[in-house]
């Protein structure tokens, strides 16, 4: 916990420094970049870094009680070590400026993730972890092969160097193949729609803490890496002139947005529902990126932050419910509004934010993405966003309804009685999560509103990062 806090502070300091001085580059072992491994920090990855370290810190605050409950005692120490390893891998992925190093970090974080999922209580967690391992390895090997192709034609692994050398080779089949391998591999990692199959099982069966940290950070970092490869290693002209990959991504992400939401509606397990909703939200991130313009890209980046906060909060609340009651079914939430008022308030705020109600963060990013779609002259994506917001509202409303408006089954008939007696009974039955779990959840929920009102804070950074990605600035 202390470590994650320190790393959060460090990344905050780094953010300040990047904002003041621009790009920082660190040469590992003192070797000069095109030969040695380089760590780069610019507006984009300092933003992601901040999200990862912040969520890691919040979740580790929360983790102590939840882990005690859900994981066997002799495994707890190991669990935290693997947790740190996972975070380290993700941070490495965000920081590195070297393709092969990127592959190594992807594998580090994935290996840690497989293990974290496998500690789930039920035996299904093992199968979920195994399937993720198989798919994750396919993805990583594809990425490795893509790196090999690029290295073969350019002789360099440094991202900045590749950016200089690649444009001359854009027509080459090797580069096209490399790009295809990258896209497929990374889409698997970030669970873009047709390749999302590992995600729902993994999130459902993993311990609650792990679901929260994975939903909030790992797919986000995957999305970041995709952006890096798409817009830093390759240039925007590649999509406009050579291959219309972004068109394909646009279609896939729209399908992801709709299908994720529809599938989420059909679920009865809360974690699984949130997992499918993640699939939809990842669609937004990719949609914003694939529209290739400043506004949409900004929206996409803010959505990375938003989704990390919102999904983090939602999964933390679910974790608290599981901690208190062992219930994972939506129907089991009945009357929870009275039993765990603070947790449920956090849930409601985060859910509203997912829907995209104004004054919450979800609204800001959806607004930017929709405006970006308009700017790109692709108005037909706006109905997609609207429809999906509607569907999101449907599946969250179902939960909110049972939290607040359905009491225990026998009560509603005696409405008058319950009105009189309720104040007492709420006090008697109130049984909210312990403070160490409640505070992180509330902080995240508070941030949903805070960034919704003071949207200019993340937007200013995201705009700079988007400009950087699209080759402006």
């Amino acid at each position: 916990m202390a470590v994650t806090f320190v790393s959060f502070l460090i990344s905050f300091a780094l953010l300040n420094r990047v904002l003041n001085t621009g790009r920082i580059s660190y040469w590992l072992g003192g070797w000069q970049p095109p030969w040695g491994i380089e760590y780069v920090l610019d507006y984009l990855n300092v933003f992601i870094l901040l999200i990862v370290s912040f969520i890691a810190f919040i979740v580790s605050l929360y983790a102590r009680r939840s882990v005690e409950k859900e994981i066997a005692e002799h495994k707890i120490t190991t669990f935290y070590s693997v947790y740190m390893l996972f975070i380290a891998g993700l941070m490495g992925m965000t920081l590195t400026g070297d393709l092969f190093n990127l592959y190594v970090f992807i594998e580090i974080s994935s290996l840690a993730a497989y293990t974290l999922i496998a500690v789930g209580r039920k035996r299904d967690a093992l199968m979920a972890s195994y399937n993720y391992l198989i798919l994750g390895t396919i993805a990583a090997t594809f990425i490795l092969l893509g790196i090999g192709y690029l290295y073969m034609v350019t002789g360099t692994l440094n991202m900045a160097d590749l950016r200089e050398r690649l444009p001359a080779l854009y027509e080459s089949n090797v580069v096209l193949t490399a790009f295809a391998f990258f896209t497929v591999g990374l889409s698997l990692k970030l669970a873009l729609f047709p390749l999302h199959t590992w995600l729902p099982n993994a999130y459902t069966h993993a311990p609650s803490v792990v679901s929260a940290i994975m939903a909030a950070t790992s797919t986000k970092v995957g999305a970041y890496v995709l952006l890096r490869i798409m817009f830093t290693v390759f240039k925007v002209e590649f999509y406009l002139e050579v291959v219309p990959v972004t068109k394909i991504l646009l279609v896939l992400s729209s399908v992801a947005i709709i299908a994720g939401s529809v599938l989420a509606i059909t679920q009865t397990n809360i974690k699984r529902m949130l997992a499918y909703s993640s699939v939809g939200q990842i669609g937004y991130i990719v949609l914003g990126a694939a529209l290739i313009n400043q506004t949409a890209m900004t929206g996409s980046l803010i959505h990375i932050l938003n989704h990390a906060i919102m999904k983090g909060a939602l999964f933390l609340v679910v974790g608290a419910v599981v901690y208190k009651t062992d219930i994972e079914d939506i129907s089991g939430l009945r009357g929870m509004g009275k039993k765990m008022p603070y947790s449920m308030a956090a849930f409601t705020i985060a859910a509203l934010s997912m829907i995209g109600v104004p004054l919450t963060v979800g609204f800001v990013s959806k607004w930017y993405i929709a405006m970006g779609a308009l700017n790109a002259g692709m108005w037909y994506f706006i109905p997609v966003i609207l429809l999906s917001s509607l569907l999101t509202a449907v599946y969250f409303w179902r939960i909110i309804e049972s939290i607040y408006f359905k009491d225990g089954e026998t009560e509603p008939r005696t409405a008058e009685n319950s009105e009189i007696h309720n104040p007492k009974s709420t006090i008697r039955n109130r049984d909210d999560a312990p403070l160490s779990m409640l505070i992180p959840t509330l902080i995240l929920a508070g941030l949903c509103i805070f960034f919704g009102i003071f949207a200019f804070l993340p937007v200013s950074i995201a705009e700079k990062a988007a400009g950087l990605l699209l080759g402006g600035l």
């Binding site: 092969f100 592959y103 190594v104 594998e107 290996l111 497989y114 293990t115 496998a118 039920k122 035996r123 299904d124 093992l126 199968m127 972890s129 195994y130 391992l133 198989i134 390895t137 396919i138 990583a140 090997t141 490795l144 092969l145 090999g148 290295y151 073969m152 009651t325 062992d326 219930i327 994972e328 079914d329 089991g332 009945r334 009357g335 225990g408 089954e409 026998t410 009560e411 009685n417 319950s418 007696h421 009974s425 008697r428 039955n429």
Partner: protein, 141 residues
Amino acid sequence: MIELIIGKYNFWISITLMMIGFYAMIAKGNLIKKIIGMNIFQTAVFLFYTSIATVKDGTAPILWQKANLYANPLPHVLILTAIVVSVSVTAVALALIIRIYKAYGTIEEEQILEMANEIPNPKPVVSEAEPSQIPNTASQL
């Protein structure tokens, strides 16, 4: 045509191996066989890397006075790292399989899926425990 096939035989070999591995990973029902497929798949990529490192008439990249040309050592080094990664993935996978075997008593994917459908976890216990709480709250009223 012949040049395409014979001249680039290293690519053909690695691609063939890759596809064999990929097929095994996807189509085989036995979890261990999937892992074997995974290893073939990864090894194919390793071969691909090492084969692109060769320089015509180059010797092994060891400092030697008689040598003029050296093979490119960088891909070798990269693959050394990738092999380590692959070994650790295999280790994790095998450890998982052992635990799956202990939990399910089989490592055939189909049987495991059937089991998962038959006994949908200890869920019923949970949902039975929950109505019992509700009468409690009601009786307190």
